[in-house]
Amino acid sequence: MKTRLIDIADVIRSKNSGPYELTMDIIFKTVEDFERVWNAGVINEALISQVYQIDPDQILSILAFPPAKAIKITIKRPICSGNIGETDVYGAQQHAPLLSLSFDLNQA
């Protein structure tokens, strides 16, 4: 059975990290779920490329932060914050595609 990320995460958010980067945090409810997802390697470059329709070279990092039971994803912004063509100056609404992710964790 697939586990929905939204059921095991407390926080899923996005924000600018400076005007050239966008960073997404997934903070899990339990250490167990954080470890299960991170150890399964299901949040990876291929997934993020697909979710955000970007080339893998636009992904700056995907890393775990155990003290916060969190996985952090940082990508290059399509344009510098506030440049003409901007849709989200603060980058605070770019998390949404992560809400619908689900994983087959038992298999992994």
């Binding site: 600018n16 400076g18 960073t23 916060a68 969190a70 440049n83 901007e86 770019q94 595609p97």
Partner: protein
């Protein structure tokens, strides 16, 4: 060195407010410092470029007045960084005008140390020519044109200018653009506390109660620094710090939670431990500061790229929704053709809510087959306000009556919520500088002056 250094952080950004009860609870704990960060680059390049604050004048005055009155009454220094939101000269002056107004109205007598952070274009250019200005990945390399076009360029000061200003024994330190943790960390570092712990504490305190659960940008936070640990404690009964809320805050708005680069070196948090000491006190240990071989100052600049006019509209017509991409392409072409002899330099964009208005290129499902209405913002940016009006008006009227394939509703394609339909959005700015200035002197670019109030 005394045992503990206590800091009252009032609010995430000066002007975001805080409950008086929390502030008084903080004062009752006898802080050694009252401080707040007053700015951010998050609201975008407009504020640095235009010299205006993104925070509200009355709101800033309310917060500042409470902080100043308490500071003077209890003889606690008050330190504010990134005054006026962006920390260039007009922002610092704007905030200091508010200080003067408070001093006059409340009949307060005190001295202010003003620390300037704007660096003039000529100085930046000279540094760039000497190869001292390097890109901060992934920002593009700096050019002479970008420097010359910048309205304002600021440098983010580290703790050193604050330490210098503290020697002047002023009741208030009001600084231009500053590395956020500096306003909290400078005083304890001067007193001999560990730089890594002081900066990490400052990094958390700069967002005040955002590190609590539930988080809030408009509530106070209390920090206690000792020789080999620091603690955080919320001041409102409505919220509480937890190991996870404090650790999670370390992630906020940064790319890498373990290694945080700043002026003079790197904050290394790989050995950090977060422990719950009870009563809502969260203790942090293991934060380290690793000095870098080359001291750097982060530069931020913004340049004007034109003037904007926007028109807000919507459509409820399923055939129009189906054809939206073709309609937008057709309208752009028609506008270009209409003015082709004029050689105008303009940009015409359509933000389409219901398709990809929020995420733009990052939207994984730019699909309108299931939506029943679309919100449309027509945006024209051109070299003058008048020209942007013309481009926007032409695009709006063309779209309103555009004859797309399969059209059934021939009276008009757009629903406008407002009359007038078009709005002047004024000057448009972009970040032009986001680079590192290499300098061995962390004080050189930040001039300090003192002002006594009331003026003699």
């Amino acid at each position: 060195m005394k045992n503990e250094f206590k800091i009252l952080s009032t609010t995430a950004i000066l002007g975001y407010g805080f409950p008086l009860e929390s502030f008084e609870a903080g004062l009752a704990k006898k802080p050694d410092l009252i401080a707040a960060d007053a700015g951010s680059t998050d609201p975008g390049p407009y504020y640095l470029g235009s010299g205006l604050s993104f925070t509200d004048r009355n709101a800033v005055k309310r917060d500042l007045k409470l902080m100043l009155q308490a500071g003077l009454k209890h003889k606690i220094p008050v330190i504010i960084g990134t005054a006026g939101g962006s920390g260039a000269e007009p922002h610092l002056n704007w905030c200091f005008e508010i200080v003067k107004e408070i001093a006059a109205e409340e009949k307060l007598t005190f001295r202010t140390a003003l620390i300037h952070a704007e660096i003039d274009r000529k100085t930046v250019l000279a540094q760039w020519e000497q190869g001292n200005v390097v890109p901060l990945d992934p920002a593009p390399p700096l050019t002479e044109a970008a420097i010359n076009a910048s309205e304002h360029i600021v440098g983010q000061m580290g703790v050193e200018p604050f330490i210098e200003a503290l020697d002047l024994n002023c009741e208030l330190i009001l600084a231009g653009r500053a590395y956020d943790p500096s306003v909290f960390a400078a005083m304890p570092i001067k007193l001999g506390y560990d730089r890594g712990l002081a900066l990490h504490l400052g990094k958390i305190l700069e967002c005040a109660a955002i590190c609590a659960s539930p988080g809030s940008g408009s509530d106070c936070m209390f920090g206690t620094l000792a020789e080999d640990w620091f603690e955080l404690q919320a001041l409102s009964p409505a919220r509480k710090c937890t190991t996870v809320s404090v650790a999670a805050h370390t992630l906020y708005e940064k790319s890498n939670p373990y290694l945080l680069p700043g002026p003079g070196g790197m904050l290394d948090l790989r050995a950090c431990q977060f422990s719950d000491m009870g009563e809502g006190r969260i203790r942090v240990t293991g934060s380290k500061f690793v000095p870098s071989a080359q001291n750097t100052i982060k530069l931020e600049g913004a340049r004007r790229v034109g003037f904007r006019t926007v028109s807000i509209a919507g459509t409820r017509d399923p055939i129009m929704i189906r054809e939206i991409d073709n309609i937008i392409a057709g309208v752009k072409e028609r506008v270009a053709d209409n003015y082709k002899s004029e050689n105008w330099d303009y940009q015409l964009n359509f933000i389409v809510y219901g398709r990809d208005g929020v995420m733009g290129k990052l939207e994984p499902t730019p699909d309108t087959s299931q939506v029943h209405e679309l919100g449309i913002i027509i945006e024209a940016v051109a070299e003058t306000q008048e020209l942007s009006e013309t481009v926007c008006a032409t695009a709006r009227s063309t779209m309103l009556h555009y004859g797309y394939p399969g059209r059934i509703a021939t009276a008009g394609n757009l629903a406008f919520p407002f009359s007038p339909s078009d709005f002047h959005a004024g000057a448009v700015y972009e970040f032009s500088v986001y680079h590192l200035l290499q300098t061995d002197d962390p004080l050189k670019f930040f001039k300090i002056e003192t002002v006594s109030l009331p003026a003699a």
